[in-house]
């Protein structure tokens, strides 16, 4: 019997039919993959499973029994654990407290901190993560926070565990840990749901998969391994996609951007690199390798200890992002929620926030018509799924939020350097393909494009040149010809670690 | 015909004194057959709004105790603009230079004079107890942010000094707010600083201030035989002290008559507006020292 069954589930938000009569089932001891483009309704389904939303129609059955959750607490009590796409942690509490939130052990009515730490330490060790249970979440990197979230779900000892894009902020090492964990949970006979936009992952982990498009279930493939990749993509995107990286070789212009000896408290040594106009430069490394740090220094987002940035031979002021933007350098940050979106502002506002300064009426007043037009253009061009340009951005699916941020920078008229920090995190294949096209288009206009990515095939696929970082240092540089997974990993992994491709 | 409306604006509607004034003004309205409009005006802005409001209600005039006496010019201008008769009560309005405004009739007290009465009351009782003036600490619970508070307490200080209390014996205890707890805390510190005095007299801008000093003294073992405090106002706070089974250091309070102030001013404005009978330019009422002994009788006399 199916341990988890969705029967004709529907969910409507103002202006959006997020789920439209979705039915499928998952068995115990099975990993069911969910795929679908951004905004297809995957997360919404999980939120219904987790008791966060009430469906507008349809039934949810656990082990054949119909369930009506009115709160997240109900779902937890029924043995359902969800790892949400947007991490849900309390920054000021410790790892142990976050993991056991809502279920802290007590002794004589008082919290037994020791027992809590012990329990969590055991679980972390069992998963294979080295983290101090007494550390506050605010002190951890995003990847570490993600691991805490995973640990939290696992510790609920649930029968059904659902992962919503858990690897989007993990790199190889944690991804490996996660995979081992998922496989172990499957062997323990739990029912697992796994959402990801990375097809390799789905092939490695999932037994079956269900594909969504526009809030409808398109198909369930009972045996994942038998489905060809092209078929998955076609089901998902609704069209054929050949080479998703869409690489086109270009003639590179003269030297354009030069970073000389950029230095900060968090970097062990000053860093330099240079690139030509029209070049796409990839940055690869493990989590914490210092790629984001370097780009933030270049952008003026963090205080520099030393060094300078030259663009077309002229020094760029280090006064802050506004100065960088004025010079034509823009950065798409890695942490969308904290650094990217203006959550309660509209899609249009999020797109226009920076570029609007160019087209002011009388140098003072906004041109609302023009701004609206620009927003609509980008919504169409990037296929941003939103009921209107006036929708609050926080109500968009994760991937669509990312596209809006991208639109913000593509709208910059004087764009010279485009820095993208994990630009395809959480983005569907179709949209990835579109973003790659944009990257190449931007480069073709003579701009410099820097792409930080922890997805090795991606950086390899789109870059003209690759810089690899390790522990805050530039450990090597590979031309497109030299660049291979093995070569890149050899430079990225600590000395002595096996440099074998992961998948 | 529409009933005649007379306004009665007071600076501190929550204060019992003004509640009493309003009560007696109501009485006058009933007796004479006009309508009384009562509005609290805690600051200059609200005062202007209230005068506008009275005009909108077609009142014929108003009695006012302004939040600051220097608001006189503003009151006068607003009244003239709206063609309203105005009379001040309690605190006399002055112009920018500090001169009383002649064309606003006034009935009330002088804060400074009331303060002097406090001082004289203290002197009399000290004499009766045979205290040596130069051995007694004088505690002035101060709230100098409020001009009338300063006038009152300085009146008391001046009376004491004139009778021979050394200026060095006067100890200021600035309170942060005008409630009892603030007075308590301020007095407490003053006692700490001046442990050399074994006997104390205390006063402040109102009964609450004096009470705070008394409670603080008790907390440090300075009891009724070594402490004398006189408040101002004759409020329930004072009466509560008088009805305690044993006398406390709260010796008395200078009572002023809310009855006369409330009743007579309301009638005066009414008659001025309806019969053209202008009130006397200035009527000053005196305060009376009320103590445990004479309180019942005095209150009866005043119709409280």
């Amino acid at each position: 019997m199916a341990s988890l069954q969705f029967d004709n589930i529907s969910k409507v938000f103002p202006g959006v039919k997020a789920l439209n009569g979705v039915s499928f089932e998952a068995r115990a001891g099975q990993v069911m993959g969910l795929l679908g483009e951004n905004g297809a309704g995957k997360s919404t389904l999980l939120k219904i499973l987790g008791g966060q939303y009430k469906p507008d129609g349809g039934r949810l059955l656990l082990e054949g029994q119909e369930r009506h959750f009115t709160s997240a607490g109900d779902a937890i009590a029924a043995g359902v654990a969800i790892i949400h796409q947007e991490l849900q942690y309390v920054a000021e509490l410790t790892v142990a407290e976050n993991v056991l939130l809502g279920r802290l052990p007590t002794r004589f009515g008082l919290v037994d901190h020791k027992a809590a730490r012990r329990l969590v330490a055991e679980q972390l060790a069992a998963i294979g993560v080295d983290l101090d249970p007494a550390a506050r979440l605010s002190e951890l990197s995003i990847a570490q926070r993600q691991m805490v979230e995973i640990c939290k779900a696992v510790m609920q000892d649930a029968k059904v565990i659902a992962f919503d894009e858990p690897t989007s902020s993990l790199s190889h090492r944690e991804t490996e840990i996660l995979f081992r964990l998922v496989k172990r949970l499957r062997s323990e006979g739990r029912t697992l749901i796994y959402i990801s936009h990375r097809l390799e992952e789905l092939y490695e982990l999932c037994d079956a998969c269900t594909i969504f498009r526009d809030g409808r279930k398109i198909v369930t493939h009972e045996v994942m391994a038998e489905v060809p990749r092209e078929r998955l993509i076609a089901d998902m995107v609704g069209r054929e996609l050949q080479d998703i990286y869409d690489y086109r070789s270009r003639r590179h212009g003269p030297m354009r951007l030069e970073a000389r000896g950029l230095h900060s408290a968090r970097l062990p040594e000053p860093l330099s690199f240079a690139m030509r106009g029209g070049e796409v430069l990839g940055f690869f490394g493990l989590v914490g390798a210092g790629r984001s740090e370097l780009m933030r220094l270049l952008y003026g987002a963090d205080a520099r200890r030393g060094g300078e940035v030259l663009l077309d031979g002229k020094t760029v002021s280090a006064a802050g992002p506004s100065a960088a933007i004025a010079a034509g350098i823009v950065l798409c940050p890695e942490d969308r929620k904290e650094q990217g979106i203006l959550a309660h502002s509209s899609v249009a506002e999020n797109i226009n926030i920076s570029c609007r300064r160019h087209g002011l009426a009388g140098g003072i007043f906004l041109r609302h018509g023009r701004e609206a037009q620009r927003a609509d253009d980008f919504i169409q061009k990037l296929r941003i799924k939103t009921p209107s340009r006036e929708q609050e951005i926080r109500l968009l699916s994760g991937g669509n939020q990312q596209k809006v941020i991208l639109a913000r920078w593509l709208a910059e008229p004087g764009l010279k350097v485009l820095i993208l920090d994990e630009p395809t995190r959480g983005i569907d294949v179709g949209a990835k393909n579109e973003i790659y096209k944009i990257i190449h288009d931007v480069a073709a206009e003579g701009c410099c494009v820097i792409v930080i990515s922890s997805e090795l095939p991606e950086v390899l696929g789109i870059s003209d040149r690759l810089i690899v970082m390790r522990d805050g240092r530039i450990s090597g540089e590979l031309s497109r010809e030299q660049a291979s997974e093995t070569a890149a990993l050899a430079l990225a992994l600590p000395d002595g670690a096996p440099a074998a491709p992961l998948h | 015909a529409e009933p005649v409306k007379v306004g009665f604006l007071v600076k501190q509607a929550e204060e019992p004194w003004f509640q009493d004034e309003w009560r007696f003004a109501e009485q006058a309205a009933k007796d004479k057959g006009f309508t009384l409009v009562k509005i609290g005006i805690p600051n200059g802005e609200k005062m202007m709004a209230a005068i506008d409001n009275l005009a909108a209600q077609k009142a014929v005039g108003f009695v006012i105790c302004a939040p600051d006496v220097k608001l006189g010019v503003a009151v006068n201008r607003a009244a003239k603009r709206h063609n309203l008769k105005v009379m001040s009560v309690d605190d006399q309005l002055v112009d920018g230079a500090g001169k009383p405004i002649a064309d606003i009739p006034h009935m009330g007290i002088s804060g400074y004079e009331i303060g002097k009465q406090v001082g004289q009351g203290l002197l009399a009782e000290m004499k009766a107890r045979g205290w040596k003036l130069d051995e007694v600490g004088v505690l002035r619970v101060a709230f100098d942010q409020l001009p009338t508070a300063k006038n009152r307490t300085m009146g008391a200080v001046d009376a004491l000094k004139a009778a021979g209390v050394p200026a060095a014996n006067v100890v200021d205890a600035p309170q942060a707010k005008t409630d009892t707890e603030s007075a308590f805390n301020a007095a407490n510190i003053a006692f700490t600083k001046n442990a050399k005095f074994k006997r104390w007299v205390a006063f402040g801008l109102n009964d609450e201030a004096a009470l705070g000093a008394v409670r603080a003294a008790e907390g440090r073992g300075i009891k009724q035989d070594a402490m004398l405090a006189i408040g101002i106002g004759g409020s329930q706070t004072a009466l509560n002290e008088f009805t305690k089974p044993t006398p406390t250091a709260f010796y008395g309070t200078v009572l002023i008559s809310p009855k006369r102030h409330g009743y007579e001013t309301a009638v005066a404005v009414y008659e001025w507006a309806t019969a053209g009978k202008a009130p006397a330019p200035v009527t000053l009422t005196a305060g009376t020292l009320m103590t445990r002994q004479n309180q019942a009788e005095l209150r009866k006399q005043m119709g409280l």
């Binding site: 202006g15 809030g215 | 609290g40 506008d52 600051d68």
Partner: protein
């Protein structure tokens, strides 16, 4: 792939409904006004409406900038003190020099300095806004007392006083000034980069910074503006009451903030509507006005004011019900 036609819209988000929702507060106020006009004697008379508007002139002016301040996720408790100080200073300069221009200039300058001080403390030195402005509130009040020796400073200059009671088209100058403030700050909020960036830094300061907003600078400007407008309100008040009062406008900050919040400005930042603020300010003034017209007892006024505040936000709340999940 094609752009998706998003499922037909449910009835409740039709444009008409949205408009209704957007302006429910305005409609609510209009209704209240109509009811009062019919039921409360003297309410709907020219003199009373002018009085009502005058009574909220100061709050209205300062609410304009407080709106920006709250929208940027800040907070300003020092406005009451600034009103007092600007009034006292203006009156003193006028007394010494006899020059209206100098008096106004020095008052505005003082306001600008106080505001900029707040801004620097909060934006650059990263002091908590509550504490920073509480500190300035105390210090500025202290300065007002010290400068005036605790006494009101009288104003005799007719030119200065006329500032407070000259009328134009039957409305006194302060009302025009307030209307002008609403207009200017409405345009500033909705039609300039300054306003949009203010909302942005309130919504997510880090994201705004990375999007090129000069967050620190902007915050200083917001406080500076607030200081200037507040000082202007203080000067107008001193003209109206023909004296600079060192203890004027105590508790004023709470009134202004309440008016803003009533008007839908979020204390969490990022949300503000000038129209809402106008309504918030009017509600505050109307309640007070009507209670005085109806001769409501002073003690019961507290009760009524509390109830009305609650009723207003509860009504406003009803319409957003269902949007969020419980």
């Amino acid at each position: 792939m094609n752009t998706t036609t998003l499922a037909q819209r449910p009835a409740m988000t039709s444009p008409a409904r949205a408009l209704l929702k957007e302006h429910s507060m305005t409609l609510g106020y209009a209704l209240l006004f109509a009811v009062l006009a019919f039921s409360v004697e003297n309410f709907f008379s020219g003199a009373n409406i002018v009085g009502l508007l005058l009574s909220v002139a100061q709050i209205g002016m300062v609410a304009c900038t407080m709106m920006l301040c709250l929208a940027s996720r800040d907070f300003d408790l020092s406005v009451g003190s600034t009103i007092a100080f600007a009034g006292v200073l203006g009156a003193m300069v006028l007394e010494r020099t006899g020059s209206v221009g100098l008096a106004i200039g020095s008052g505005l300058l003082a306001g600008a300095l106080i505001g900029a001080g707040n801004g620097v403390l909060i934006a650059y030195l990263r002091v908590n806004a509550l504490i920073a402005t509480l500190a300035t509130m105390l210090m500025v009040r202290g300065l007002a007392f010290i400068a005036s020796k605790g006494q009101a400073v009288g104003i005799a200059d007719e030119g200065f006083i006329s500032f407070g009671d000259t009328t134009f088209l039957n409305l006194p100058l302060p009302i025009w000034m307030t209307a002008l403030c609403f207009l200017v700050f409405g345009v500033l909020l909705n039609h300039t980069v300054f306003g949009r960036n203010t909302l942005a830094i309130g919504g997510n300061p880090e994201a705004a910074r990375l999007a090129g907003v000069k967050v620190e600078q902007l915050r200083v400007w917001i406080f500076l503006l607030q200081g200037v407008v507040t000082a202007l309100a203080g000067l107008i008040l001193s003209a109206r009451i023909t004296s600079g009062q060192p203890n004027a406008a105590t508790g004023f900050e709470l009134d202004v903030i309440s008016a803003c919040v009533l008007g839908g400005v979020s204390l969490q930042g990022g949300k503000a509507r000038i129209f809402g603020v106008v309504i918030g300010v009017l509600i505050m003034g109307t309640v007070e006005n009507v209670m005085n017209l109806l001769n409501v007892d002073a003690f019961y006024q507290y009760l009524v004011r509390g109830l009305i505040l609650l009723a207003a936000v509860l009504l406003d709340q009803l319409k957003t019900r269902g949007e969020r999940r419980g």
